[in-house]
């Protein structure tokens, strides 16, 4: 199933258009990079694709159909700061299960240890938390993953570890990935093609 963005336009309130007439499509299993200077609305575009914002113009479709408003969203997004993306009062095991039963093989590849499931978020480092956020976003219903500066805050080893796990799963499930990053070297390594905003 192909993900299409057709003629997307967005602005906040009465401020000038952040972008207008954005068109692109992604195939299943494809890894696409998105780059552009700060302030061009990359994060906003990601939020639109993942259903967090509604475009003011145009539409996003998956396999020709509009994305669902309720129920599991097939386009999942992982945020830059994992600390804000998990409930501080929940043990990590509960957070992990929020997106459905996680894949054991994926957990092992992400390096998530059994004993972390009993911990609260403030007892884990940013790199450890981000592994949970990635695992949660990769439920069985996920067709496309939007990685908005997903590993920007992480060290090189954790970054490589997470990406290897994600790429492996993407290949297995024919899942598409949109990578947003300022790191050109990372983009070169990961992406089949890069589009500029």
């Amino acid at each position: 199933m192909q993900l299409d963005a057709k003629n997307i336009g967005f602005r906040y309130g009465k401020s000038p258009w952040l972008f207008k007439g954005i068109n692109f499509s992604m195939q299943p299993g494809e890894v696409v990079g998105l780059k552009g200077p700060s302030g061009t609305g990359k994060t906003t575009l990601c939020r639109i694709l993942a259903g967090y914002e509604k475009p003011l113009e145009g539409k996003v479709t998956l396999g020709g159909k509009a994305l669902p408003e309720i129920g599991y969203h097939p386009v999942q997004m992982v945020f830059q700061h994992p600390e804000k993306a998990v409930n501080p009062r929940w043990k990590m095991g509960k957070t992990l299960k929020e997106g459905g039963r996680p894949d054991d093989d994926l957990l092992a590849r992400l390096g998530i240890q059994q004993e972390w499931l009993e911990r609260l978020p403030n007892e884990l480092s940013g790199g450890e938390l981000q592994r949970f956020c990635v695992a949660r976003a990769l439920g069985p219903g996920t067709r496309f993953l939007i990685a908005d500066e997903m590993t920007t805050m992480l060290d090189a080893i954790t970054q490589a570890q997470i990406w290897h796990a994600v790429l492996h799963l993407a290949e297995k499930r024919k899942m598409g990935i949109l990578v947003v990053s300022h790191d050109a070297k990372l983009m070169n390594r990961l992406c089949d093609r890069v589009i500029e905003l």
Partner: protein, 279 residues
């Protein structure tokens, strides 16, 4: 109340806090239990024992009718606590409903409720309380309604802010995209976040309610003079202060202060315990 243990008894901060809460609760429980051990007979008049200073037989002395002041104080305090409890429970319920409504029912509801909150906060508690109580004809009903209608604004504001904050948290938005229904999010994300704030807000409202009940009753606008309320005891005792019967006002007043401070301490310490980051 600030109890601190030094020397051999080495406790960490959390253990000490729990001990302090236990001590305050024990004090409050003693008054409630004491109330049930007393009956009308314990405060009966005994004209042969009038105006006695404190002694082992009468811890707080006796009044001009020979009534035991210790028994009167305990009955007065427990009555005040009952009024405070009824008032604080209703007031907290109002705060919960209005706070949730402001946060979830859209902009108009929020504007109206926020305006009401500001209005109530801009007038001193006691003035509104006296007006409402007086309008309702005083007595038990008047004072409970008065407390219920005047103590909710600050807690309502806290609840409104907390709900708005957690509703806009990233993890709540993510939960929606994980396909979780709104009710599930309310039960699992929002309510657990709200409960501690609400309970502590309620506990801290309690001593206020007691104190204000006593104040209004003291001014003669609250409970009727036939009830052994602490405010009544204090206002009656004022007449006898100049004749040297200091114990009539001193012990009941001190006890009232201790009860209020105990509740305050329990609430405040629980808040620090549950939410150490926000001291």
């Amino acid at each position: 109340m600030n109890l601190s243990f030094k020397g051999k008894l080495s406790l960490n901060r959390r253990q000490r806090t729990i001990l302090e809460i236990g001590a305050a609760l024990g004090f409050i429980m003693a008054i409630i239990i004491g109330r049930f051990m007393l009956d009308e007979g314990s405060i009966g008049t005994n004209l042969s024992e009038r105006n006695l200073p404190p002694s082992f037989e009468h811890f707080f002395g006796t009044d001009w009718l020979g009534r035991d002041m210790f028994a009167r104080t305990i009955m007065g305090l427990s009555l005040s606590m009952g009024v405070g409890l009824a008032g604080a429970v209703s007031s907290a319920a109002i705060a919960l409903v209005l706070g949730l409504a402001a946060a979830t029912l859209g902009k108009t509801a929020d504007t109206i409720i926020s305006w009401l909150i500001d209005l109530f906060l801009s007038v001193p508690h006691l003035v509104t309380l006296i007006l409402i109580s007086f309008a309702l004809g005083g007595g038990f009903k008047g004072i409970v309604f008065g407390i219920a209608l005047t103590h909710w604004p600050s807690l309502a504001r806290v609840i409104r802010a907390e709900v708005m904050q957690v509703r806009s948290a990233d993890y709540v938005h993510i939960s929606r995209k994980m396909g979780k229904p709104r009710t599930w999010i309310a039960i699992h994300h929002i309510i657990p976040h709200l409960i501690p704030q609400f309970l502590i807000g309620f506990l801290l409202m309690f001593p206020h309610a007691i104190l204000h009940e006593a104040a209004v009753t003291f001014l003669g606008l609250g409970l009727s003079p036939h009830e052994p309320a602490i405010g009544i005891i204090l206002s009656e005792s004022m007449k006898y202060l100049s004749s040297g019967l200091w114990w009539l006002a001193f012990f009941p007043g001190l006890s009232l202060l201790l009860v209020v401070r105990s509740f305050d301490a329990v609430g405040e310490r629980l808040r620090v315990l549950m939410d150490p980051a926000r001291t």
